[in-house]
């Protein structure tokens, strides 16, 4: 446990460790932590931990990282932890191997204690027996020629991505609409209480949030890279939530924020572990419905699923999840790259199950198709339930 004179420098080092692991641990929080510890009995490790957590964490997602960092930094070495069997605690910190190594040296630990994420054994083995298909390899994005990428990117970025708007409940001044009592009265007071002129307000219009759920499984391999470029181009607008799936669902919204496409592609490729694995669309959508829908489908969102429908999961499951998803979305669009190819019939089990439950079923095999999508998005009405 921390001792008096040693405490502040160690606290600073702990903040740096958190920072390197991706938490926001700037000077303000460090100051708060220092202030907080004045009121805490440092001999009570649990209170010490709780206090630091309450200062340095502000997202649920960051809790495991904080606990792991705390264990590594403050906890006395525990042989069980080193063996990875400490119940309920994961010691993996999301850090590059070089960083983890530097920290391991600084803290006098072996590097495997710092960062188990690099070991393939840390990957959860799915119980369904389908794990053999979950090919946990990092997909090399270098296959498309640089020139092609540049062309596609330029065209996509020039395309005017405008998603339809919706009325919000916030009002703004307008020429016509509901009477704005506040401004009208204001004006009247200036003219001795006579309501000389009426001002109006109208709901503000905002663009609808867009949610992309892209299939990056093996059968979609040829399209994955293009899809990422497409997602990146749209994500330059504010309100895009993006997910990719093959056997499981990964949120890539934050990764798409990189302005530089190459850096973005690299981080997505690193962050997504099952690129080009098998597909289980139903499970991925179930995961989305349970863990993300309530968080990202507010405010009349438009949901776009991009997949060829080659599903190895249970079609009944897929149907059930689509029905649920459609109910919570303003519009549910399915893009299928195969739809463009000659003589294609949506006969795969997955696609046949999905078709009756989506609002639009469109191609996505070339730029022309993506432009058609753009027109559809722009044309969705402002009213709720314009389905």
């Amino acid at each position: 446990m921390p001792e008096g004179p040693d405490l502040l420098p160690r606290l600073g080092a702990f903040a740096r460790l958190l920072h390197d692991a991706g938490l926001e641990a700037g000077p303000r929080r460090l100051t708060d932590a220092t202030r907080a510890l004045v009121y805490i009995d440092l001999k009570q490790q649990i209170d010490f931990r709780n206090a630091l957590r309450s200062v340095f964490v502000s997202r649920k997602e960051d809790l495991p990282t904080f606990e792991a960092a705390f264990d590594i930094f403050w906890a006395p070495p525990d042989p069980r932890a080193a063996a990875g069997v400490l119940p309920g605690r994961s010691r993996a910190l999301p850090m590059s191997p070089e960083r983890a190594k530097a920290w391991a040296i600084a803290l006098g630990l072996s590097s495997s204690q710092m960062n188990r994420e690099q070991e393939p054994t840390a990957v959860p083995i799915s119980s369904s027996g389908y794990s053999a298909e979950e090919l946990l390899r990092h997909k090399d994005f270098e296959q498309m020629t640089w020139q092609e990428t540049e062309q596609v990117r330029r065209l996509l970025e020039q395309a005017p991505w405008r998603v339809a708007e919706r009325k919000t409940r916030r009002l703004r001044a307008a020429r016509a609409g509901r009477i704005d009592l506040r401004r009208s009265a204001r004006h009247a007071i200036r003219s001795s209480g006579e309501l000389m002129r009426l001002f109006h307000r109208r709901p503000r219009i905002r663009r609808r949030p867009l949610v992309l759920i892209c299939d990056v499984s093996g059968s979609m391999e040829r399209y994955s890279r293009l899809l990422m470029i497409f997602s990146h181009a749209i994500a330059r607008r504010e309100d895009v939530e993006a997910f990719v799936f093959s056997t499981r669902l990964t949120r890539i919204t934050r990764l798409l924020r990189y302005r530089d496409l190459d850096r973005c592609l690299e981080s997505v490729s690193k962050g997504v572990h099952d690129f080009s694995g098998g597909t289980r669309i139903g499970e991925a959508l179930a995961d989305f419905n349970r863990h993300w829908a309530r968080r990202v489908l507010g405010h009349g969102a438009v949901v776009i699923i991009v997949s060829d429908g080659w599903d190895r999961g249970d079609p009944a499951r897929l149907t059930a999840e689509l029905i649920h998803l459609r109910r919570s979305a303003h519009r549910l669009i399915w893009l299928n790259p195969l739809l463009g190819s000659e003589g294609y019939q949506p006969l795969t089990r997955g696609m046949a199950a999905a078709l009756p439950h989506v609002d639009d079923f469109l191609a996505a095999h070339n730029l022309k198709a993506l432009e058609d999508l753009g027109r559809l998005l722009a044309g969705l009405g402002t009213r709720a339930g314009s389905r």
């Binding site: 303000r28 929080r29 708060d32 206090a51 957590r53 309450s54 964490v57 007071i189 507010g298 405010h299």
Partner: protein
């Protein structure tokens, strides 16, 4: 019951418990530090884990008034901070004689007498002997504009009203902000706050909560209902039940005169715990197994 500012974490814990709020030590620590550092406390957690309740109980602990601002989409300053009472102002000005000075009149009608005070202004400007507890509930329902305004308000606890001037809190209120995470609240706002994530309680704690808050349920029933809910939470459902549902369920069963659970009773009252038709259907098939497990818990 003891009232006043607690001086230790243990005291926070004890006072919450005294008021039948069974929280964990982490929450007590966050509350204690928020009081000491005079920082807002940001509480997140799934629906029905007792976020709002924590603020209410804290008002009682401190002997302070609870001021609640329920957020919704489109909430603006006129609803959250202040609004001029325009009809009264207009009336006042119409009733004034011809010769009176207009500037004097304007000063009159833009005085606090004509001000409609909304929760945030009330929290900052009041004569309460003990600073109030300000609960900003479900901030995730408001929009970014409102968040930006709150950021300003929470950093120095002052509001400016152009016609009157800047009003600053004599003593900062104890602020509790809750969110259900239907959207990500901006980091800048969270950075100003201490944070606590309320998790679902484990079995023992949930039994304790049911005993404290639904005393009409017999001891055995409390344990079995808590066990059932724990079972439901491990299932693949669209919406798993929160603690609020556990309490509703325990009360419904107690109202039916039950002292133990059985498959028929659970079937009849399942609606207290589950709110989606798909979830109800899925669970109905498995009631006997769930009941058996809960009775063994």
């Amino acid at each position: 019951m003891t009232v006043g500012t607690p001086t230790t974490i243990e005291e926070v814990e004890a006072r919450l418990r005294e008021r039948k709020y069974i929280g964990d030590r982490g929450l007590a620590t966050s509350i204690f530090l928020a009081l000491k550092l005079e920082k807002p406390l940001f509480i997140e957690g799934e629906a029905g884990v007792g976020k709002t309740e924590a603020a209410k109980v804290m008002a009682d602990v401190l002997g302070a008034r609870l001021i609640r601002l329920q957020c919704y989409e489109g909430i603006d300053l006129a609803h959250a901070v202040y609004e001029w009472n325009y009809p009264r102002q207009l009336l006042h000005i119409r009733l004034m004689g011809e010769g009176e000075d207009r500037r004097v009149a304007e000063r009159e009608i833009f005085s606090s007498e004509f001000l409609l005070r909304r929760p945030l202004l009330d929290a900052i400007d009041n004569d309460d002997p003990i600073p109030p507890v300000l609960l900003i509930d479900e901030i995730d329902r408001s929009d970014e504009e409102f968040e930006a305004f709150l950021l300003e308000l929470l950093s120095d606890f002052q509001v400016s009203i152009p016609e009157i001037g800047t009003i600053k809190a004599k003593r900062a209120p104890f602020v509790v902000i809750t969110s259900n995470r239907t959207r990500e609240v901006h980091d800048a706002l969270k950075r100003r706050c201490l944070y606590h994530w309320i998790d679902y309680p484990d079995l023992e704690k949930e039994v304790e909560i049911v005993r404290a808050r639904a005393p009409e349920a017999a001891d055995g029933l409390a344990r079995e209902v808590a066990g059932l809910v724990q079972g439901l939470r491990s299932m693949d459902l669209y919406k798993v039940p929160g603690v609020a549902e556990t309490l509703d369920w325990a009360r419904s069963l107690a109202a039916l005169g039950a002292t133990r659970i059985d498959s028929n009773l659970v079937d009849a009252t399942l609606g207290s715990a589950l709110k989606y038709q798909e979830d109800l259907e899925r669970v109905r098939e498995q009631i006997p197994a769930l009941v058996e497990k809960a009775r063994g818990a």
